[in-house]
Symmetry: C2
Subunit: 546 residues, 2 copies
C-alpha cells in the first residue's frame, strides 16, 4: 500500500525552500518603492513567525486573523500559522462593521495581523472583539499609526530574533489550514474552512497543463486580493512551482498594474475583466505605448464576470496574451472550471472560439459538475437548457463553519455543493453562467435568465442601466419585469423589438418601468430585493391576463 | 471542512466519459492493421467488463492477472476491475517460470487475461497455478490458439451482451487498484500494491507544467510496457486529460514506431533511449526521411538509463523534440523526478544544459528526495558527493506485499523509501544516478562508483565490455577490480592512464582482469555476483599492501 504521506501546505513550502530558494517574491510598497526578496528569505521569516506564535502561546487549531492587501508579509502569513498547525482567518476589510465583529468573534481570532491603513477599520469595533488579545501591525515600528487600539505591536518586532528554521510538525491532511467567509448578498457571511489536503490538491491542479499550467518559468501577479479565497490559490501555486510572484500591494490601479507588468516581466496576471479593459484603454490612449507594452504576458486570467468578445479578441490578436477565465467561488478554494481550448474547439471558426472564451469554461481535472432543475432532476447538456450548477471536487467545502442550517440548504443529500449559479453546458463541455438561482425567473415551469435580459437591454444604445426581476404571477408563477434607466426617451415598443431579436416572445418582460437610476446594494450590485418590494408595494402581483 | 471525496481511478474514467468521449484510443494490431475507437467506446466496454466480473462472482479486492502487450483491451483492463473495486495484477511475461508461478500464486489471481502469443508461456506452469480458475484470451473466438490450458474463453465472449453503463461503487481511496512485481536482479520479485489515491495523485502530477505537461491536445504513445509499472502511468494520464493514446501493441521495432509516430501525429512518446537512437539512425540512413519525419513530436520521454549527449543535442536541434528524462521505479508508480529546464538552467551555456539533460532530473512536485550515506547521515547536495536516494511521495509504496523482511530493509524508520540508487544532487537540484548501492565500492569510508568507472573504460577504443566489482580488502574494506574484454591488446598501463584523466588515483581499480566476455544474467545485465565469486575463488581477498 501507499506510504503515509499527508498532503499539507508544509510540503509546498518545503519544496520552495529545497529547490527555489533563489526565486523572487516582489512587493510594490505603499511609498512607491519595491520590496524584493527570495523564497529562501521568506522561508526564514516564516520560520521566525512560527516560533513567535509558539512563544506567544498560540495552540494548535487556534486562528490568527489577517486584514491586509497583497504583500510579502501577507504571503508569510499564508504559511507560518498553517504549517505550524494553526490556521489563518483572512478578513475582508470591506465588510460592514457588524459583519466584521460577527466573523472575528466566530473565528475566535486571538491575534489580528493588520495593515497600517486598516487599523482605523478596527478601532470602532475593537471593544466588541472579545477574543482578540493582540494586534500586530504589518510593518516595522515606524509603521504603527497613532491608535486607540490596545495591545499593539508591529510585525517586525513580533518575529524578530527567532530562529530562522523550524521543525514543522506532522499535520493530519484534513486539518483546517485557513478560514474564509463568503460575502453573500443576503444574510451574515458564512465561514468556509480550507484544509491542508484541499489546498495541496488545488495547488497541484492549478499547474495542470489544461488549467493555468503555471510553471517555474512564470512570473505571476495576483491582483485578486489575498484576503479572499486565498488569492485564487496563486500564492500556494507559485510556491510549489517556484514561479516568481509579484504582489501589487495597494497599487491596483490599471496604470500602476501596467507599470508593474512591464517592470517585472509578468507572464501571468489574474484580475477582474474591468482591469484588463482599463489597461487596454491606457495603452490605446498613450502615445508611447503599443502592443509590445504587454509583451511579457502569456496568459491573462480573469474571473468574476464574463469579458466582452472584443476584449477577448484584442488580447489574443493584438497583445498575444490570450484571456482564460476561471470560474469558482469561496466554497471551492475557488477553482472549478476554466477556459480550455481543446483540439475540437481549435477547429472552430474564430468567432465561435471567442464565444466559447466568453463562457466560464470546462470543469478542471478532479471537478465533477452537473446541472439540476428545481426538482433536482438532471438537465440536458445541450447548450440551451439552464440548470443549477452542482459540483464536487476534493478542494470543495462540505459544510459552512458552525452553520448547519445554511449547510443543509447548500449541499445535496448525495454530497454535491449547490452553487446557486444557473448555467448551461454545451456540446464542448463549456459551462456558461446565465444567472443566479435567486435571480432566475421561474415562468410556467421554465427558467428565464434575468442576466441575459439585462445584458441585452444594456446593449440598446438608449439604455443606461437595466435590472430585471421576477414578480409573482397568478398563472405563470413568476414573470419578468424590467427596470430601465434611459437617456433619450426610449419606448417600450423599441425595447420589446430589440429583445425579440434575441429571445422568444415568452421571455419578454411583462412590464417595463422607467426609472432615473436602479437602486444598488452597498457593494454596488443591483438591489433586486428592493425592486421586488417596490413593485409589490406599488402593484401587488401581476394579474393572470397580463 | 472539505467534502468527502475519494481520489479514485473511477474519477479519471468518468472525466473521459463526460468530456472526452470523442477522443481516440488507437492500437497497432498484430496483423498490421489499426484498431481505432474512442474513450466513449472504451467506457462502454469497460462497463461490460465490470458486469462480466460481477457475473463471474469476482469479489471486491480479488485480483485478475493480465499478461499482455500494449493494446486497447489491456487499456480496458486498467479500469474495469479497479473501478469495480477489484484489482489487476500486471504480469511481466518475461519472468522466469518459477517467478511467474510464485507471483501469480501470491496474488491469488482468479482470472488470467492473456494475449494469444503468451498462452504458451502459461501452458507449462498451468498445473502449478492453483488459484487461476479461468483463462481469458485477449481477442475474439478466432484468436484463441490450440492450447493445453483448461477453462479458456475469449475476451469478446466474456464481455459480450452486458450493459454498457455501470453504477460504479464508492471506493475508499486507500484501496488497492493494482499489484505489480519488481523484477529485481536478485531474489524473488516483490509485490507493490498501488492504491486509487496514489494513482490519482500520480496522474494529476503527470500533467503538471513542470513534469510532462500532458494536455488534451496531445497524442501520447507509451512504448514502455503496460505490463510493468502502469506503463509509466500514461494510460491513466491520457484518460484524465483526454489526450489521444496510441498503443503500439507488438510493433515496438524502431522502424515500426517511426511509422506510427508519423501516421498518428504522435506528440509525446515514451521509450528507452535505445529506441530513439535507432529511430535517429533509420532517419539518417533513409533517402526519403529527414528532420521533418518527427515533426509531430514535441516531447520525447525516456527512462531507464541516461542518454548520450549527442542524442540529446540531436533531438533538440534537429528534430525540435527535446528529450526529457523520467526517473522512477516500480515502488514509485513510477515517477520521482524529471528533466526541468528552469529559468536558471536556461541561462547556462548549451553544453552545460545538455549535461543536465543527461541527469535524472529534479524531484517532481510532491516528491521529497534526500541523499544518505551508509550510516544514514545526510550527504551534501554539492553535485559530487554520492549518497543513497531516499524518497517520499504520496504515490510511493510503504511496503512490499506480504514481505515484512524486505520491507524492513527498504524503508527507513522515518518513512523514506530506500531506492538502492546512489546519486549526487547538484546546485540546480538535478539528481544524477551514479550507481546502485549494491554495486558501489566502499573504499576507506568513501564511495567509488562502479558505473562511472565502467562507462569510462567503455569509452576507451580498445575496450569492448567492462564490469567493475568491489572486492574485499584487508585495509580499505573494499577496492575496485575491473573485468575487461578487449579487442586489440590494450595494456593495464593504458587503461590506468585513461582513467586518470577523469578520476583521482584512489578510484583506480587495484587489478585489471582481461576476459573474453563479461558473464551476464538472464536479463542481459553484467553478472557482478558471479564475478565476485570468481575473484574470491581465484584470489581470495586483496592483501593490504595492494
Amino acid at each position: 500500500m501507499t506510504m503515509e504521506y499527508d498532503l499539507t501546505i508544509t510540503k509546498l513550502l518545503e519544496r520552495a525552500r529545497d529547490l527555489f530558494d533563489h526565486k523572487e517574491i516582489v512587493t510594490a510598497l505603499p511609498d512607491g518603492s519595491t520590496h524584493r526578496y527570495t523564497y529562501g528569505d521568506a522561508y526564514e521569516r516564516i520560520s521566525q513567525l512560527a516560533h513567535a506564535l509558539d512563544d506567544y502561546g498560540m495552540e494548535p487549531g487556534e486562528r490568527a486573523g489577517v486584514m491586509a492587501v497583497n504583500h510579502f508579509r501577507h504571503f508569510e502569513l499564508y504559511f507560518g500559522p498553517s504549517c505550524s498547525a494553526r490556521s489563518i482567518h483572512m478578513v475582508n476589510h470591506r465588510l460592514p462593521e457588524h459583519h466584521l465583529v460577527e466573523i472575528i468573534e466566530e473565528a475566535a481570532d486571538r491575534l489580528m495581523f493588520v495593515d497600517p491603513q486598516f487599523v482605523e477599520t478596527l478601532e470602532p469595533i475593537a471593544d466588541d472583539l472579545d477574543t482578540v488579545e493582540q494586534y500586530v501591525v504589518l510593518g516595522d515600528e515606524s509603521d504603527v499609526p497613532d491608535t486607540s487600539l490596545e495591545a499593539v505591536t508591529d510585525y517586525e518586532s513580533f518575529i524578530d530574533g527567532y530562529d530562522t528554521d523550524y521543525d514543522w510538525p506532522a499535520i493530519d491532511e484534513d486539518t483546517e489550514s485557513a478560514l474564509c467567509y463568503t460575502s453573500g448578498t443576503t444574510g451574515l457571511p458564512k465561514g468556509v474552512q480550507y484544509t491542508h489536503r484541499g489546498q495541496f490538491l488545488h495547488t497541484l491542479m492549478h499547474s495542470h497543463a489544461d488549467v493555468f499550467g503555471i510553471s517555474e518559468t512564470d512570473t505571476v501577479m495576483p491582483v485578486v486580493p489575498m484576503f479572499h479565497v486565498n488569492g485564487w490559490g496563486l500564492p500556494y501555486t507559485t510556491t510549489f512551482t517556484g514561479a516568481n510572484i509579484v504582489l501589487p500591494g495597494q497599487h491596483t490601479d490599471p496604470d500602476e498594474l501596467l507599470s508593474i507588468v512591464q517592470d517585472e516581466a509578468v507572464t501571468i496576471a489574474a484580475a477582474v475583466p474591468t482591469v484588463w479593459m482599463e489597461v487596454d484603454r491606457i495603452i490605446e490612449d498613450a502615445d508611447d505605448l503599443g502592443p509590445e507594452s504587454l509583451s511579457s504576458l502569456t496568459d491573462v486570467l480573469i474571473g468574476g464576470s464574463s469579458p466582452p468578445a472584443s476584449l477577448i479578441r484584442k488580447y489574443d490578436e493584438v497583445y498575444d496574451a490570450p484571456i482564460s477565465q476561471g470560474y469558482g467561488m469561496t466554497e471551492a478554494s475557488p477553482h472549478l472550471a476554466n477556459t480550455l481550448m481543446t483540439t475540437e474547439v481549435q477547429q472552430l471558426p474564430e468567432d465561435e472560439q471567442d464565444r466559447l472564451r466568453m463562457k466560464a469554461g470546462v470543469p478542471a481535472p478532479g471537478v465533477q459538475i452537473r446541472l439540476r432543475d428545481e426538482g433536482g432532476e438532471p438537465v440536458p447538456h445541450d447548450g440551451e437548457t439552464p440548470g443549477e450548477v452542482q459540483a464536487r471536487a476534493p478542494w470543495l467545502a462540505g459544510e459552512y463553519y458552525e452553520r448547519p442550517d445554511a449547510t443543509e440548504l447548500s449541499w445535496t443529500e448525495d454530497g454535491y455543493f449547490r452553487s446557486g449559479d444557473v448555467a448551461t453546458v454545451d456540446e464542448y463541455g463549456f459551462l456558461d453562467i446565465v444567472d443566479r438561482l435567486d435571480d432566475v425567473i421561474k415562468s410556467g415551469g421554465e427558467w428565464i435568465s434575468s442576466i441575459e435580459l439585462e445584458n441585452a437591454l444594456i446593449g440598446h444604445d438608449g439604455v443606461e442601466e437595466a435590472s430585471v426581476i421576477g414578480v409573482a404571477h397568478e398563472k405563470w408563477q413568476e414573470r419578468p419585469v424590467a427596470y430601465v434607466a434611459t437617456t433619450d426617451g426610449v419606448t417600450v415598443e423599441e425595447l420589446r423589438e430589440h429583445l425579440l431579436e434575441e429571445f422568444p416572445k415568452w421571455w419578454l418582460p411583462d412590464r417595463f418601468e422607467f426609472v432615473d437610476e436602479v437602486p444598488k446594494t452597498s457593494t454596488g450590485k443591483f438591489n433586486k430585493q428592493r425592486l421586488v418590494e417596490r413593485f409589490e408595494e406599488e402593484y401587488g402581483s401581476l394579474p393572470a391576463e397580463e
